[in-house]
Subunit: 133 residues, 3 copies
Amino acid sequence: MPHVSIQYSPQLDDSHDMGALCHALNEAIVETKLFPLAGIRVRAFRADHESVADRHPSNAFVAMQVYIGQGRTLAEQQRAGAHIYAAAEAFFAERLGDAYFMLSMEIFENNAALSWKRNTVHPRLKDENKSSH
Amino acid sequence: MPHVSIQYSPQLDDSHDMGALCHALNEAIVETKLFPLAGIRVRAFRADHESVADRHPSNAFVAMQVYIGQGRTLAEQQRAGAHIYAAAEAFFAERLGDAYFMLSMEIFENNAALSWKRNTVHPRLKDENKSSH
Amino acid sequence: MPHVSIQYSPQLDDSHDMGALCHALNEAIVETKLFPLAGIRVRAFRADHESVADRHPSNAFVAMQVYIGQGRTLAEQQRAGAHIYAAAEAFFAERLGDAYFMLSMEIFENNAALSWKRNTVHPRLKDENKSSH
């Protein structure tokens, strides 16, 4: 954890580097100091088809769903969410001045009783961290 | 809000205009009169791989997830859901007569305390609406 | 039900047959004896962009979301989840020995009051089952 799954309008690939958005969100997650680096999985999916609002051809959306594990207070989740979302707003700053853009983010907390995982990056980053001290 | 995220079997792009499905759902959402036009984001994602039921090559699925904001009663959500889902059934009417089709839809209500958004289409549509009166 | 929606790192298509993963999960779901074959919809989506952990180029993730209908106990869900997840671990066994892999799965239970569906595969498989006895 956390997972960030982004869905976005296909035309955004022409104007924006959506891989750079993923990196910006990754960095923002690290900056919250609430999640281990080894658990960060940000990914983005270009829609194959869409129909947005009044179907104006300039309309574009970016919808982010964040899934986190249990164990953080609501206040911590809100602080983390606000920081991650702010990074997305900064990334799309010039689009927020036009009249055709929709940005959104929600956080969902997973149920530990119905979650399974295996992460082999965790021990590697722990080892690298130790050997650099 | 609302968001409609559709996942579907890759072969459906050969037989159906999945962009037209997105438009049909957009219209159905407007018809419910429960959601602002400026908030509608319908999009569809073709699966890269799949394994459906008995793996008959004619099997195809369309799975719709609808995310809405808080503030509507369960009865309103059920009425809206039934109307939007009916539009999808109408779109795939001829497939409902064969024995290889799976259509589904679920509504999820977002938690306002863990949601962030910015929508620049809202003020534009409000202005356009005003100036046309 | 159930639905399994898989998101994965793009480079995995070079090293793994992700369609075969879908089939392996389909089989594992059948083996649990908790879900009807006709309801199984496993599908996988390759990310268009990603930023994973420390951004090491070997990093790869596979994230599985399982959506099921109501009517099973938590213990049944946990038993089913463990079995399905074990099939994914077996599929990626050789990756679990390196230090760049992240596998995860969560189960979500849908709310029957906000679900709609039509499945024309169900009656076919029932008929085929009858005629084979």
